[in-house]
Amino acid sequence: MPESSGPVARRREAFWAALALPGVVWLALFFVVPFYVILGVAFGTVDPIIQTPLPAWNPLDWNTRAFDFVVDGLVSSGAAFQTVFVRTFVYVAIAVALSLVIAYPVAYFVARYGGRWKGLLLLGLIAPFFISYLMRMLAWINLLQDDGWVNDVLVWIGILDEPRTWLDGRASSVIIGMVYGYVPFMILPLYAFLDRIDKDLLDAARDLGASPLQAFRLVTLPLSVPAILAGCVIIALPMFGDYYTPDLLSGSPKTSLIGNQINLYIRGGQQIPVGAALVVVLMLMLAVLLAYYVIVTSRAQRRLRG
């Protein structure tokens, strides 16, 4: 029995604290401090001559010019940032919905009916984790070229009369690319969850007269709501910061997302505070989404328990 106080317990506490210390310091230095630096740069000014940012560390010195610029571009209708933010939300919403439509049946099949093929099927589901996202996009660049296999096949079947240019400003290419890139990250948690569902619950539902479809609709689906939401969140978050998928599969301003704007402002050099302000706005929006998600899931879990 470990004592709750006294020198032995205190020594133990100190030991665990010492063990955690390097990691805590690391996170403070390279995760917490950098967030403050983003704020400092976003609320700072720019050197008038060499155009480098002059961060403002003291909140009393904060200057809201970069935020005014971003907010202005967000609220006046049809302004650049507004278009980009709306487009990002639409792309992410469509891509997440499509991913769910693909991920759920696949995860369900492998979890419930995988049988002796489960190992092999899982290998197929896990393989994309070891293939770099950029390589998977490169594969689609190859396929979607004007003389690529996608055009060859579509023309041969007769869906297209002539080869189409896929890689220049097409929303569909970008969205399909995102779905292709992120869907594996949604399948696995869904699989892990569905694999754990107690089969007795389904048997009980069937014994009580439910058809297989009813058992699915009344037992499996409600149970999997938290897993579905978690799967949506883990792919939506990286999508909101994505700029490489539109750059690689479109490269046109017509498909520019929030991530592209951040990348342009931060690396373009002239208006880094605007880039930092965009990062802050993105984080605030994601924080609202996450808070909503945490509330919904905890409510769903309470309902399942009670």
Binding site: R12, W16, A17, L19, A20, L21, G23, V24, W26, F30, F31, P34, F35, V37, V41, P55, V106, Y108, F109, K118, G119, L122, L123, G124, F129, F130, I131, S132, Y133, L134, M135, M137, L138, A139, I141, N142, D147, W149, L167, Y180, P189, A192, D195, I234, L237, F240, G241, Y244, D247, L248, I266, I272, A276, L282, M283, L290, Y293, V294, T297, S298
Partner: protein, 320 residues
């Protein structure tokens, strides 16, 4: 008798189409729509990669049509092959270097952090437990910008390039080690260390003799995951790169993906994939061995799904 044999032999052997129809019409089989859907998904997910690999062996310069077979873009071309184009070979080395550094730093740091945070009860521990999960819900571009600005404006003694990139990789992979080790710690419980300490062991001895051996599978799983996400990383490597000599493979693919004139980029991606798979498989073999020696069921690929599931749950940022 003879007529019966004749009719039996006269029945035609089932053709593939016939067998498919029988299977489709069998009401006791697996749900047929789901079988086809899953197979279609797997084909869609894997075939583009196989085609990209196939183009890397092209004899000609096309990246979109098959043109014979050769190792031209790997070794043979005197200027443009992965072996002879310094930008391409440097990218592969940089990716491997960063992945090795990330594994070597993140695994010990993350394991110590996970054990410390699970057992330590102070107020700082509560906050740290919460903060340590936030990287999991931070889009990479946010982390990339944050680290770039911190290295440019505050920690100016850390140069961009390999040092900054390695720090970035450790920072975003730390949380993954944390969730892997923590879920293992929760399943072990505190009893073993307490028993060791009741028998007179110091906390350090209890840790070394009782806890660490039981955590070995979590070390190996962490190493695989950190290695894979470090090799995969694009955004942080790109933001913290100091120039072409510190570009990683994904950064190179991004830079040249749309403009690359030859399949050498496909060859680079294929080589990277092959190396990643060999190293991950080696780790996985070690993992199975470790588990088998402990008398547990052999490690299955399902454990990866568990890790991703733990990740999905950690997005709720709530402690169990």
């Amino acid at each position: 008798m003879t007529t019966a044999t004749a009719t039996a032999t006269a029945r035609p052997a089932p053709t593939a189409a016939r067998r498919f129809r029988d299977w489709w019409a069998n009401p006791w089989g697996k749900p047929r729509f789901l079988v086809l859907f899953t197979l279609a998904y797997l084909v869609w997910s894997i075939v583009p990669i196989l085609i990209a690999i196939r183009f890397s062996f092209n004899e000609g310069r096309s990246r979109s049509t098959a043109q014979g077979w050769s190792f031209r873009w790997y070794t043979e071309d005197p200027d443009l092959s992965v072996l002879h184009d310094p930008d391409l070979s440097a990218a592969l080395l940089q990716s491997l270097k960063l992945a090795a550094l990330a594994v070597a730093i993140t695994v010990p740091l993350g394991v110590a952090l996970a054990i410390g945070l699970t057992r330590w009860r102070g107020r700082v521990a509560g906050t740290s437990r919460y903060v340590s999960l936030v990287p999991l819900v931070t889009p990479e571009i946010v982390m990339g910008v944050a680290l770039l600005l911190v290295f440019v404006h505050v920690l100016t003694f850390i140069p961009l390039g390999t040092p900054a990139q390695a720090i970035g990789h450790v920072t975003f992979s730390l949380a993954f080690v944390l969730i892997i080790v923590r879920s293992r710690l929760l399943s072990i419980g505190a009893e073993y260390e307490e028993a060791a300490q009741d028998l007179g062991a110091s906390p350090l001895q209890a840790l070394r003799l009782a806890l660490l051996p039981m955590l070995t599978p979590a070390f190996v799983a962490s190493a695989i995951v950190v290695f894979a996400i470090s090799m995969d990383d694009f955004v942080v490597s790109a933001f913290l790169s100091s120039g072409t000599n510190t570009d990683t493979v994904p950064v190179r693919i991004y830079g040249a993906g749309r403009t690359a004139p030859t399949p050498a980029l496909n060859a680079l991606a294929t080589l990277t994939l092959a190396i990643t798979i060999v190293i991950a498989a080696a780790f996985f073999a070690v993992w199975r061995l470790v588990l088998a020696r402990r008398g547990r069921r052999g490690a299955t690929l399902g454990e990866f799904a568990e890790i991703d599931d733990a990740y999905a749950k950690a997005t709720r940022l709530t402690e169990r």
